[in-house]
Assembly symmetry: D5
Homo-oligomer: 146 residues x 10
């Protein structure tokens, strides 16, 4: 643990967030996402037992979103015919609005299998224990200017 840094960020996660550069992508996946198989070429970080919102909030305190693209945040679209609700998306948008002035405007959606393809080329995937469905979120890192 360190002064002033959210303690949910493990030493390894802190290192990975720090070594990422402009345009690298990070997936915070829900508990049912096949994080290990999607992440064979990525760094997979286990955060079992944690929900996505607390991690998203902690990460955005140190991790800027890309301002060179319109949608640096992407969610996995609900499959046609699957009538699941996704109230957690509103939670995500509120958290993002705390850290980025664009708020919900910088959040996009990607079809399920396209999301998988993107995830396979991400720099890192965080495996959480989030029990909400369709709760995966992908972040694209921006430029650190300070």
């Amino acid at each position: 643990m360190l002064k002033g840094i959210p303690k949910i960020l493990s030493p390894e996660l802190l290192m990975v967030l720090c070594e990422m550069g402009h345009s690298d992508r990070l997936v915070i996946s829900d508990g049912n996402f096949p994080a290990e198989s999607m992440g064979k070429d990525a760094i997979v970080i286990r955060c079992d037992g944690h929900g996505v919102p607390e991690l998203l909030d902690a990460i955005l305190q140190v991790f800027p979103l890309d301002t060179y693209v319109e949608k640096p945040v992407n969610l996995m679209e609900v499959m046609p015919g699957d009538d699941v609700e996704t109230p957690i998306w509103d939670t995500y948008k509120e958290i993002i609005a705390k850290h980025d002035s664009r708020g919900a405007d910088c959040v996009g959606n990607i079809e399920r299998f396209a999301f998988y393809d993107e995830a396979k080329t991400a720099y890192a995937i965080i495996a959480t224990g989030e029990s909400a469905l369709y709760a995966n979120v992908m972040l694209q890192k921006g430029v650190v200017t300070d």
Copy 2:
């Protein structure tokens, strides 16, 4: 994640709990414990951001305490002159009572530096983000009889 197994138990933690045998010891350490240096000869498992109680409760669902010794659970004694309170110990005792009929009777105390020495020979050390002080707890595994 698996059916019927607490999702706070990561794949690696589950493996380690399973490969431990009768009389092996496990330390669930608080966020300030020097887990990595104490655990140079042990397996260190990061559970950053979690408190000790939720891990203790999940672990005791699958992990039996040793019945061949009187005190299979040990806490780190408060240093003389340090007037910190340790209400979290009561929480631990309640959780233990849920899983072992001996309850608080099977919980002992070890002086700080003796605790460090014991920790160095433990099979595994779990590094949590528990912010309570003197919140380390050491468990000795018993026999699985079913």
Copy 3:
């Protein structure tokens, strides 16, 4: 060994089952399946000396089958011209029926070489000592909802 978890599940197998996610596939192969060569990109777990039925039954206690596809379980089709009997398939279907309400309806067949191709992209392959022929079975993991 752990309380309440079938002891045929080794620490490593437990870890692998736990780290698999929705839609990842697992092959439980018979004793003559070329598990190591098919599994060059997979995790291969040795369970020499065990039959497939006892492993299948233990695995399905903790591992949900995918409900997003019709046939989350697949067997290797007998080669044309090979007049071997496969009574073990009935045993598999009974075991599956104990753990999934769809029973035999969720079990499909795949031609031998197509099965090999699928196996090469599985997340893990378990090498058993099952002496029955055509006794390989492939499972697709579902969502853990509790």
Copy 4:
């Protein structure tokens, strides 16, 4: 699997038995033995879900017992005050008699903590799922003369 070799012997176990030499010791441990911690300097081979008798019988088909010592086989003594029965020891002696003409005469006993010390210097430890208590057995390899 190979022709004429018991299929409970995994490829790795076969390799380890083969590379052992005269006077090297092998522990076949029961399911509660702390095989991983005792075996930090040894090779640990997992045989989860198997009992000791079937492994002992298979191993003795290829593995000669030392004839240079009187007791090449050793069991862990029951702790004073522990009134557990050990009928499995008779089974072991019958199996040994099938493979070595000295039969039960070559089987000795070692006190629990002395057994642990010996185990720590063994060449290999096999971790089984044997549920009988005090069911650990240590074998010392003899000379292969054919």
Copy 5:
């Protein structure tokens, strides 16, 4: 060394033969075969100083040939214009006849560069010190039925 197993089979070779499954291929190469470069994706086992016949004979004691294909054994064809004699092929056929009732009928030939291509996808390549030329032989493993 083990009782009843040819002592020319090293611990590692025994392990590899055992972990191979139905249809996996093994090359026993002569002393001039580029075993290491052909075997970049295979397991290469050094048996320097040994001839192929003694290894072939020992291997076939534990390793069944595939009965699902007509030619489970293949030799490298002599290059057109190379007038070398290959009396060692007769030795091979006699050895095969000792272990497989099909005898010489199950031995085929493959053109040199096609043989190289096949070798690159073999499960394992044994590098011998065989001084006869064109003395490489490729074996396809069958089903173990006992």
Copy 6:
């Protein structure tokens, strides 16, 4: 790089500082210190080309000094007979005063060879390019309380 974290802290250094616990020690060594040989049992982090003061200042922004001991900071004493000046020690004390209310009072001295002995048991050693002599400094981590 991350928002709000000094960019002189590399990803690996950040990870190491974070994984250290209460009472672990860190050496920031000058350019002539034998960091690699002293740190054979430690983690050695290269910060070639940097001076100690800029690293000390950055580290103390996230790293609390131990309040359980009187001298959590220690410098290497000048060898008797060596008449080198150490103005950099004043710089260190000013930096420490910015981050810890005890200021210069928490800074002690250790004789050269005792310093080496302590360094060998440190958790990590940072190798800088500091050209000042006797410019090594050892920090003991305190408790993170927020």
Copy 7:
């Protein structure tokens, strides 16, 4: 540190510069460049906290630029629509002129995504903490003639 060699060159960097040969390329990247993901097939060397100019100057003292190509130095072009200034390029050109008689004439430009593609095949990427934007520079090594 060594006599006569700039101390900002770490032992590892010195080794890498030395093992590079004629026509190998080196990227000195700014603090926001995705050095780790671009450098998956390269050697990535961390120089956090340093600017590019001090590294460029030190490197060119030991590293000759290729004289077989016209532009052995390349900068990343500003993206159309991005109105950032790049005064650091003038600094680079002055430094290059100190070490290579061609001076600014041997400096070219590459479009952003083409630069990424080139970077992926570089021999090594140095990750600096340079805060100027578009401050990446790619060097092609020449022949050492002394």
Copy 8:
């Protein structure tokens, strides 16, 4: 060092020469050749400070040239427009004539970039300190007949 073997052949180089087989290729590169990047899929052996002739002469004492091809030795052609002299080639031919009766007749030339492509698939690349330009030489191993 060994009796009767040139002492310029390091233990590792001797091993590599020995494990090469018929038709494997070896590059002895000059000091400016990009040996490490060309040799990413090869074994790279450092012989810094040595010239090519002394290595070539030592290697050919134990390494036969291929007699199945016309040009088992190949040099890198001078680039058109580069008016460098290559007197070292005559030295090479004299050395080859000492060890192979074909002498200079078995030496061919390959265009620079084709040479690079061939080098990428070589079994091993030796990095020398040879200061002559265009001094790279590629050898194809023959059959050992004694």
Copy 9:
């Protein structure tokens, strides 16, 4: 294989013999010697299926015996009470006489357990398939003077 070097010497064995220096010891062990456990701190080289005499003869062609000690060759003494014959020792002495003018005079004996202790500090141990008993031999390397 290489020209003029006995082909029973594998690439790895050749490397090990070459990297040994004056006074390093090599054990050529018989098939029942516990080579792997004695050699935990040594390099163990498998030569399964070979006898000791053919290896001894090949090794002494390249490996000089130490002339600074009286007995650079040592055999394991027969245990008191064990009435085994050791005709193979005469074979060893004849082979040694071929390569060292001191012949049998430079061959000594070491008691069994002292031999084990010496073996544990040897540089390398060769595991053969020699079936003769008490057939282990230890060689001390001399100075290469050519």
Copy 10:
């Protein structure tokens, strides 16, 4: 190779010299020194085929000798009764005088077995092909002051 750095210094050797600090010791050993066994806890660098003088001269161009001790250079004393001449020691002293104003005065001697003990704790050992006897030399690194 690099501009201005002796090309006999390999990339790895350069790295090792650079990472050494004040008081670390380096052994440049002759061709018969048991460099690999003495250097089990050190870094061993092969420079086969080179003599010690050319390496010593190149190393001292970048490596300062310790001025805190009287004898930063040490030679291995000739064994009593061994009447070998050591003219190479004069060569060493001339080379040292070129780089250190103390010249031969800073060169001491150590008895053979004491030299071995010192060598075992050195930071690195360079294995040369030097054929002169008693030609080992140990250097202690000083402070880099520029």
